[in-house]
Symmetry: C2
Subunit: 300 residues, 2 copies
Amino acid sequence: MIGIDWGTSSLRAYRVDEQGDCTDKRDAALGIMQVGKDTSFPAALESVVGDWLAAGETQIIMSGMIGSRQGWLEVPYVQCPVTEREISEGRREVTWSGLRATIVPGLACRGPSGVVDVMRGEETQIIGAMPGLGDGEHLVCLPGTHSKWLVLRNRRFVSFTTHMTGELYALLKQHSILGRLMTDAAAPATQLNEYFDKGVERAREPGGLLHHLFGVRAEGLFGKLPHEAASDYLSGLLIGHEIVSVQPPARIIIPLLGAAALTARYVRALTDLGYRPRTLDEDCAMRGLYRLCTGKGTRI
Amino acid sequence: MIGIDWGTSSLRAYRVDEQGDCTDKRDAALGIMQVGKDTSFPAALESVVGDWLAAGETQIIMSGMIGSRQGWLEVPYVQCPVTEREISEGRREVTWSGLRATIVPGLACRGPSGVVDVMRGEETQIIGAMPGLGDGEHLVCLPGTHSKWLVLRNRRFVSFTTHMTGELYALLKQHSILGRLMTDAAAPATQLNEYFDKGVERAREPGGLLHHLFGVRAEGLFGKLPHEAASDYLSGLLIGHEIVSVQPPARIIIPLLGAAALTARYVRALTDLGYRPRTLDEDCAMRGLYRLCTGKGTRI
């Protein structure tokens, strides 16, 4: 089978054999925002995995923004609480040139006060992580441009919230008065420093995010925050605010699912705040696509 | 005397006679960011008020970012708690072509956990508002790109906090995924609508600002927030978060000092949240400059 994790800015393709082993993997900067304009979605797909299709693969499954209004076909959201089976049943089919593929639906969730939230793509990663998580209750964190926190109870998707942490970090660095202080890219995750921790620590204090943000500038003016450390402090401050807002119960284990560099920041912030982070395998999207396509688990 | 309120992006000049009446007023897009590069500060000043100087005005006082590191002369911050007299004593003199002017210092303040905060220019506006405020304790709000909340006790500047509310609103509108939803400029202050109030209301709920921001998008996707109302909702959400973070005691009177259109938004948000806003006169900068220069009050 072929599994496609097709997001806003990139497309990831996996070829998986009947034993559930991933035999090939490709990455292209062909997100749905790049496609829509000049190329069609079928053409974009064939440009990446045309040889796999020519070799006779007929089972194709896609997840992510490809199922959004701006994607190939708008697949209606399924509403939380929801099971893996209900997500699978929410798939819709597209056909082209004698081929067919299914697209996984996203999830919608209504918060306590009725405000809605949405995800597309993360549900598939979580399905891929399900065997590793097991039964019981889990609060899973998926760091990203728009981070997700999901409550899973006995493999049921109960509810989730999205946080604009990653996007706000990029915006503030590139366009705000705070960015002018920042002389350097953030430190690599492996070199996270005490300024990151200070940002996390600051997030626990009263005053609110809007006030804490201005502190990045004021502390810089007084030489208390070196320019090369300001982006690390900001990163810690924002991630800290995200975690504090979610209010996870004290000392719980928090499974993390996402790209390694960003996940390492969440591991550090969660540890600073007294939680026990647990990093899950990065190939969850592939595993989730395979599970939804075949009903079977992949080999781990 | 001549009073100059010289900020990052604009210069406001007031000519005031011996009775404290403002006889002329000018506004130029000659903020310190525009100046530094091509022109000198003396040349910029003379381009705006050269005729007043030629007419023999010799008492000149300036406040705002002109006293910052990027300004004409860096005037050291005075540290809260501080009195009007101590601010006046913190002035520094600049001289050029046989003329002299004094520059008002900014204020610095250390929060409960030692994090520093700063203002330049607002202290002069508050000094101008002092006679209208009177003795006792006041929590004064100055809406702006970087809003300030100041605690005054018996005319003493006790402490303050800054909030990046205005800058973040502009950033999110111009550069974020939320801005893509917004088809229109925010409604004029006089037409503030129920979506602004919904944003304020949302700010009282748990979940945190980073999560509430994503709600602007999700509600838009579900047609619950019309595109033309999204920027009003965002404005209410951010101003609401600012007020909620400050945690003013229930039902107090909150004096407001700032530009009319923005202040009207704060009046509405404060009213939504059960406070009693009180708008102060907009000419406080002029009054403050006059008081600091002459030790006398202006006529009201």
